[in-house]
Amino acid sequence: MLSIDNLHAGCEGKTILQGINLDVKPGEVHAIMGPNGSGKSTLSTVVAGHEDYEISQGTILFDGEDIADLTADERAHKGIFLSFQYPVEIPGVTVTNFIKTAINQNRKVKGLEDMPANEMLKKIREKAALLEIDSRFLSRSLNEGFSGGEKKRNEIFQMAMLEPKLAILDETDSGLDIDALRIVANGVNKLRGKDRAIVVITHYQRLLEHIVPDFVHVLHEGKIVKSGTKELALELEKKGYDWIKQGA
């Protein structure tokens, strides 16, 4: 589904990713771990299509298609979703209005009419329940004044609504207490499926106890320096990132 080959990319003239290779198949959950500044967030931002980032070398294929020239919204239409580490506040747009707009814009490019209001409402209710979000929350301005947990729940709620093929979850565990972490992880787990791939980007092993990955990759200085199964995450937790840094 996602096939990254020798990816070099960065922004403002600085190359941050120094040759990433990653292959993600439908149904798989990959975890990408790494110390601060290793390039984790850059990788997610580049795959999502931020226009400030430039690819200097290598390719990103999604379902076999090179997506380098697609804008972020076009990538979203193909089925790529990015859950932000720091979701942006949008005062004046309610959670409901925002997701309605997003859903209908995605339908529009597929030549579909707007989703009928009752269907939309039903879907919103169903997915909100999945993330234990109550209805009052839905009429608040998007992310404005939300707690860390509310922001991340809202990200996964949007993922549930948009039903992407590939979801990249960037530091979804940061700023979460134990209860929020459980709710968010539960939500993500319910969204796992044989046609959907998930890439979990995290600093800590903690999240991976709840969202158990099929593969774990360790990123260091813009390169994947180690890959393995979920045991690698535990080993990393025990030995710390210095273990990787020394090895590299």
């Binding site: 299509g49 919204d73 979203a76 506040e89 004046g92 707009t101 814009q105 301005s141």
Partner: protein, 438 residues
């Protein structure tokens, strides 16, 4: 002949026709003298520093319409609120159009100023209120006073809650080339009375037109006024709107100004507090493009204690458009416990767009709460990217963010029909389909 001279000589003709037998002759004569001395404001005057009238007054305007024009409803339907039952006072090229109007004298007077000025039964009200709050020394207001002939007259008697909003609509057609219109409105809301008013000036031609309108509003004790100005005119139509509101104890006056188009639009919105415990609200959305120009000059004169004023103006300027916001708040020494709030936020969509924004606070009391803030910025790039990752294309994302930016001004709009219309206009201006519940 320049416009000033044209107007001065037109005044002689006007006075000869309407003057001698008229009660207002003295006031008119005094007013034309003020205009004669001051002429049109220039950029040398502080209040007009950023508002050039030079081009506006170059046109050779017609001061008196020569032709009475009839319009079919279908031609102007889109400019009249249809989905709500309203009273309507409609003028075409400055002349009252009975066919498009719906006036009343049942429970409330919604009629013509020309009638109120001439019929004896209105004489007492005219004497008490007419030209009592309008600035005597402001040249454009004086010019309007000198030519006072027609406009809307609304008198809401004590305790009357007028359920139907009143629409005051002025159309300009191409039958009278380059019209200069000077409507004069007088609105009196008596004790415990309540009314909603929507005002619109709409040119139906691409000829140059210039409207210099003056509105006097008297909000008596505990009166509630809700006033909406919809300004979405042709790029050849200019408007100078001077509105003067006098308020008495416990009254609340709210004015929303939606400025979405026109060549040059200047709003002088003035609130005068005559008693303690008064509430004044003024809100606005300006959304313009091309080389359009919109100027909001507000004044709240807090003269008595325990009163409040709230100002919230949002401006969105695309292409080469220009905005001005000048918010003057005077708090007299006596006006302790005043709470005055002023906010002006602007987004410049393009490099050549500009806004001059200035709070002007003159506070002589020591126990007051006054806050003001103005911001000028661009759309949040992070928010645009965030929205894109959800599949919302840049154009729609920009539209949505801009809409959201202006949105809270719409929250206080009480007439649903107005809210829907403004919402639709914003969506059209931004070129997006906002399928929002408002």
């Amino acid at each position: 002949m320049d416009l000033k001279e044209t107007l001065l000589s037109s005044y002689l003709a006007f006075d000869a026709q309407y003057g001698p037998q008229h009660k207002l002759q003295d006031q008119r004569a005094a007013a034309i003298e003020v205009f004669e001395q001051q002429g049109f404001p220039t950029k040398k005057e502080e209040d007009w520093k950023y508002t050039p009238l030079r081009n506006l007054i170059k046109t050779n305007y017609t001061v008196f319409p020569k032709e009475e024009v009839s319009l079919k409803l279908d031609e102007v339907k889109e400019y009249i609120l249809q989905d709500v039952d309203t009273y309507k006072i409609v003028f075409v090229d400055g002349i009252y159009n009975a066919y498009l109007s719906e006036t009343t004298h049942v429970g409330v007077d919604v009629c013509l100023l020309s009638a109120a000025l001439t019929k004896p039964k209105y004489a007492a009200t005219i004497k008490k209120y007419f030209n009592q709050i309008a600035a005597k020394d402001a040249s454009l207001t004086a010019l309007n006073t000198a030519f006072t002939k027609e406009g809307a007259y609304i008198h809401v008697p004590e305790g009357k809650l007028v359920e139907k909003p009143v629409q005051i609509i002025h159309f300009t057609t191409d039958k009278n080339p380059s019209l200069l219109l000077q409507p004069r409105n007088l609105i009196v809301v008596e004790k415990n009375a309540e009314i909603q008013i929507v005002e619109r000036h709409q040119s139906l031609t691409t000829n140059e037109s210039f409207t210099n309108v003056v509105t006097e509003i008297f909000n008596e004790q505990n009166a509630q006024l809700d006033y909406y100005k919809i300004q979405n005119d042709q790029t050849t139509a200019s408007l100078i709107d001077s509105t003067y509101i006098s308020q008495r104890k416990h009254s609340h006056a709210k004015v929303h100004t939606f400025s979405f188009g026109g060549k040059l639009t200047r709003n002088n919105l003035n609130f005068y507090h005559k008693d303690p415990e008064i509430n004044s609200t003024m809100k606005g959305i300006t959304l313009i493009e091309g080389s359009q120009f919109v100027d909001h000059h507000t004044l709240v004169h807090h003269a008595q204690p325990n009163s409040e004023s709230h100002q919230d103006y949002k401006g969105i300027f695309a292409e080469k458009s220009t905005g001005v916001f000048n918010g003057k708040i005077i708090v007299e020494k006596k006006a302790q416990k005043t709470n005055a709030f002023q906010q002006n936020n602007n987004i410049l969509m393009d490099d050549k767009a500009s806004i001059n924004t200035k709070p002007q606070l003159e506070i002589f009391a020591d126990d007051v709460k006054c806050s003001h803030g103005c911001t000028i910025g661009q759309l949040d790039e992070d928010a645009l990217f965030y929205m894109q990752t959800r599949g919302i294309p840049t154009k729609e994302a920009r539209g949505l963010l801009t809409y959201a930016f202006a949105n809270n001004v719409l929250q206080s709009v009480k007439i649903d029909s107005v809210k829907k219309r403004i919402n639709k206009l914003i969506a059209e201006k931004l070129g997006v389909n906002i399928g929002f519940d408002v």
